[in-house]
Symmetry: C2
Subunit: 339 residues, 2 copies
Amino acid sequence: MRDRSGVTISEVAAAAGVSRQTVSNVLNAPDRVAPATAERVRRAIDELGYLPNRAARNLRERTSRCIGFKIAPPSGLNNLLDRFLHALAESAGGVGYHLLLFSASTVDEELAAYAELIGTGTVDGFVLADIDTADERLDWCAERGIPCVSFGRPTVPGPCSWVDVDGGDGLAQSVDHLVARGHHRIAYLGWPEGPRVGDERRAGWRAAMRRHGLATEGLSGASAEDPAEVAAVARRLVRQPDPPTAFACGSDTFAVAARQAVGADSAGRPRVEVVGYDDSPSAALMTPPLSSVRQPLDQVAYHVVDLLVRQFRAPGGPPEGVMLRPELVARERPGQNPR
Amino acid sequence: MRDRSGVTISEVAAAAGVSRQTVSNVLNAPDRVAPATAERVRRAIDELGYLPNRAARNLRERTSRCIGFKIAPPSGLNNLLDRFLHALAESAGGVGYHLLLFSASTVDEELAAYAELIGTGTVDGFVLADIDTADERLDWCAERGIPCVSFGRPTVPGPCSWVDVDGGDGLAQSVDHLVARGHHRIAYLGWPEGPRVGDERRAGWRAAMRRHGLATEGLSGASAEDPAEVAAVARRLVRQPDPPTAFACGSDTFAVAARQAVGADSAGRPRVEVVGYDDSPSAALMTPPLSSVRQPLDQVAYHVVDLLVRQFRAPGGPPEGVMLRPELVARERPGQNPR
DNA sequence: TTGTAGGCGTTATCAT
DNA sequence: ATGATAACGCCTACAA
């Protein structure tokens, strides 16, 4: 019951009239101690408010029970970060780990931080996000045998375990949803073909359209994730003959910008139907609310932590990957088809 | 240079032909060791890639060099969290601390987590955010002598140090800005009078209006931070005789909802001018972009960490408060006054 | 079932 | 200026 713990295992042992070892056993190997003794020790623990010292335990067990995560300077709408961090903290806590946050502005700084955190034993491994096409951080960690799991995967299979969400599946769901609401001319709006996540989503859109027997000619829009550029592309798309009546988008930013650019009819309803991606908080708050593909970040975090902890226990295993399905959150009211 | 540190101070000492203590001194009290010896030791440190073990150091120094932060389940648009967390991680890193994130769903869970983290010596203190009118967490920490600093302050001065941003000042800036752009009928849109941050902002609006000699009668709008409710209030305000031509808002959510509710003229320009609060990422991405009051989170984080570290060094001091000024980010183009 | 001994890696104290 | 000794609090062997 004393404040600001300074209660040690020895004090508990003294209070219970046993040796330190017995107290330790009560906590770590309860089966090796007589029920009566255990009870007595437990009472002493409660009364003294004993909590095992983390540093001592870490020192002894050569572990930190901490998982490191680099938090990048906020840029644009980092929509997923809050959700992901919370999910991560929760998953980690569930298996007795904590999340240790640190910042780094450049990749070199980041790698230096990794080296120090591992070298000092401050963390046991890392979670990486915002994975690039061929992310050097993954190889860097792998070369040094540093446990790490990434949210997102490099285009070329890398040396590290990963968890990812199938963007192609997400866009298939967007297309299916729009088709079910009567659309045939469905355009895609997303990043230009190239390095990042966008490709998978665009390919998913194309495949789903083909599956439905729908044409994609002239319906593939690409721009930077900037409202003005998105607007220009969206307007160009709807001005062509046989224009799209709906947009499936690579992110909510594209969706919001497209909807604004194309405008609304006299009743204030959007002239095209739009589906976003990432289900950012603002999606639900728009009028009318925006349907959007939601990534299952709780599951992502669960698997990330699971893979990481498994590496802690059995280092040197082969990299594993976990692919998860996103889920479209439909928010249109039934009768509201703009066609 | 070996991988996965296991290099200890003893190995460095052996390599340099000195005692462990001398190595320690080279790192922690360089003035107590001869330059030549120091140089030799430093070379050994570099060559072996020695990094002092954190757990051992923590054990010895009865410190963790970690600051705890509870991350709440994401709700609504938790706009500031990414920015704040990054700023916090950066500030903490700057003074040799790390940020330790954990989750808790209820206040009881949160307090239990605090007790355990402090009791086990996993963290040295806490940063608290989302402070309530009379936040029991503050008293709880104070009673136990647990170092903590809050971002935001309770309405009644509490027992803990805090850093806050002057919301009244922010709204004064909003009003000044709108007045400078020719508005005289400026309404406020924010939370109902009562428990939270809103009050200060509403009072700031009222005071600024008075200072400009402008009436506030019938211009004070209140609702929950929900688009539909905001829309209703905004519409009601603009339908009255001598309606407002501008809204100064308590958050970007109010601003976005108000702008959408009141609509745009035939040229697509908003019918009222709106200023938000918090400068959420989407503010800059809207069309036209939204002016918004921005909280200086880097400074907030700096002071939070500073106050906390000061408590670590000299426990038991009186609580201190730091009040910071926000800054309006003006985004209207000069000629675009909707009046 | 319980107790004793030793060491995890570091730093503070004290002696040389 | 440097080194020996002890201790931080815990846990794993081993001994009783």
